[in-house]
Chain length 350, copies 2
DNA sequence: CCCACTTTGTCAACCGGTTGCCAAATATTG
DNA sequence: CAATATTTGGCAACCGGTTGACAAAGTGGG
């Protein structure tokens, strides 16, 4: 009662006999129909070249006729392989991950792998649970900005190939957005606009990426002779940005770079609510160029991360590790890029 | 070389013998250690009450000691069950799905199911591929605002439990946000503000939900004696909203309700760019209350959908269908709610 | 034409669980 | 205490593929 013709062709009237009570055909059904041994069917289907073209064709025809689909569990049982890669993002709600997901997904499809997605809602515990669960059913795992400890990540990586995005963990391959390129342009732009003192609203204390971004900013500011200081924050979210507003106002910097766009948006809105004009009274810049960063008034200037490329590169690296377990080539850092919009401008009165 | 102590306790010095060359313990290892038959182990682990408390305890201890984890494939092979539910969203990039995902995910965790997420990037083809792939490894499937045809959905539903979110497909259970409640308040609000003519910028032509929203708006407008007309659109995205701007300007309506927030944002930004003042020159309202809908200036007034509840309800319904294959209770429609912000206001000169 | 070598297909064991059936052990009852 | 009812555990078959070992068939060279 279940046989729906999936091709849209005229429905074949009768599907050749299946074993009674069985809902889906197996290689045994194909073997019988094609007059060969089941193992030959298995080889024809998964070991190209192992059987003669003639029998292979017979088997393909039979498979087609029965509308055969491999049972992934049966295949996974002896091989352990599922053609699936897991991706865990720390927060599905953070638009920064959109493109990471898209990038990984399309890289996966291109190689006939399926992407399995999970999120940890910013909780290290949930993340560990999700990672463990996934690891059981997946050939490899990508962790995007994980909240896990280095040890936990290493322990996962000991079991199956793991690639980390935007974080550096000893012994675990990672793909990283190189802040320098974008920061260099951004700081030069601010310098051109007459700024001589800027603040960096940092991300989470334990965030490796936040530290890197600050390093990069500090280095460029020194080069330009600009004063730079860090403002600590609570969370890398819109709310976190809002809460940093008081500290920012108390300071004397004329430009602020935030750890990410979410914070920049929160900061901007809070300051605007308090009567400041952006960018006249203060220039604000974010990181990542997320969805919605141009919704604000003024639209946000930001340092764009190669999010899609990061996702794709991570996936490709997992696949490479799967192919030749030895090779672990260092990955090129992917460059960031300045996106100038309306939230940065000339220092007042200059 | 792989045995990482996962508990954080002092590492046990020696893990009891495993069969040579095996990486992870099986029920056979447990059986040996506990001095019982493998089938007893299987029962102790998955059929509570089937074995005596005493042996169950012995087995649990042995399992703990070996750090046992079931092999999901081996379990799935005979049973066909994976404790996994799939969720396919039409566009991971659409913030409206955030809460749907979160809602479904937490409902799944609560029942010890894992959620498997995929997206179709707004393509019916990709969606079908993703759905087919998922169906093979998943106990049930949730389709959020699917792009598939009714027939395709029905054909998927013929194989495993499927629940559709925000769409009505004959014979397939669905959970739906009831526009009426929110629309009723919204139209009353607009009437109070002096509006006598409003436009509805529609979603995709084939969108069931868009039609329902329009019906609801039309009915309420009639009730209030307000003129209402539909403006067709291209896509339910920010860009789609932008492209509707010209048509909207050409009309005489003083308030516009858009199919979703994304469109409302696009429309608003485009009109602002053209010099209109919102809400003075025109009131704009969206649907859903997505992330970012309060980033705009003015922040968007919108009719909030119970997105999280939708996701959770869908998941629970799939689980219910799995439990008692017969029961298919009709699901209560979940109410929407008006969220008033700055993009709607009094008609100019009134 | 024979022999060595390669290709192709078969057999059977295995992956790690689940489950129907049965017998042994234990509990209940008159 | 015997007879019956109920638990409890073991045996073995099964889920649907994969794969090493081997034999049959095919190929080519001398």
């Amino acid at each position: 009662m279940t046989d729906i013709d999936q091709t849209g062709n005229t429905p074949r009237s009768a599907v050749p006999t299946l074993r009674a009570g069985k809902s889906s055909p197996t290689i045994y059904d194909i073997a019988e129909l094609a007059g060969v041994n089941p193992s030959t069917v298995s080889r024809a289907l998964s070991k190209p070249g192992r059987v003669s073209a003639k029998t292979a064709q017979k088997i393909m025809d039979a498979a087609e006729q029965l509308n055969y689909q491999v049972n992934v569990f049966a295949r996974a049982l002896p091989t352990g392989r599922t053609q699936t890669i897991g991706l865990i993002v720390s927060d599905i709600t953070n638009p920064a991950f959109f493109d990471v997901i898209r990038g990984a997904e399309s890289a996966a499809s291109a190689r006939d792998y399926t992407l399995m997605l999970a999120e940890s809602a910013e909780s290290a515990d949930l993340e560990l649970t999700a990672a463990r669960r996934m690891l059981a059913t997946v050939d490899g795992l990508i962790l995007a900005s994980p909240r896990l400890s280095d040890e936990e990540i290493a322990s996962l990586a000991a079991k199956k190939p793991v690639v980390v995005i935007n974080r550096n963990v000893d012994g675990v391959p990672s793909v990283i957005a190189d802040a320098d390129a974008g920061v260099s342009d951004a700081v030069r732009h601010l310098a051109d606009m007459g700024h001589t003192e800027i603040s960096y609203v940092a991300g989470p204390e334990r965030s490796w990426m936040s530290a890197r971004r600050w390093e990069s900013i500090k280095a460029r500011c020194d080069w330009h002779g600009i004063m730079a200081a860090v403002v600590a924050s609570s969370q890398p979210t819109v709310d976190g940005g809002r809460r940093a507003a008081a500290t920012v106002r108390a300071g004397t910097a004329t430009a602020v770079i935030c750890y990410n766009d979410l914070m920049a948006i929160g900061l901007m809105r809070e300051l605007q609510a308090a009567g400041l004009e952006i960018p006249n009274d203060l220039s604000i810049m974010g990181f990542d160029n997320i969805f919605g960063s141009d919704f604000t008034t003024p639209p946000l200037s930001t340092i764009k991360s190669p999010l899609g490329e990061l996702g794709a590169a991570a996936l490709q690296h997992v696949l490479a590790a799967l192919d030749h377990a030895d090779a672990a080539p260092t990955l090129p850092a992917l460059p960031t890029e300045l996106v100038l919009r309306g939230s940065t401008g000339r220092v007042k009165g200059s």
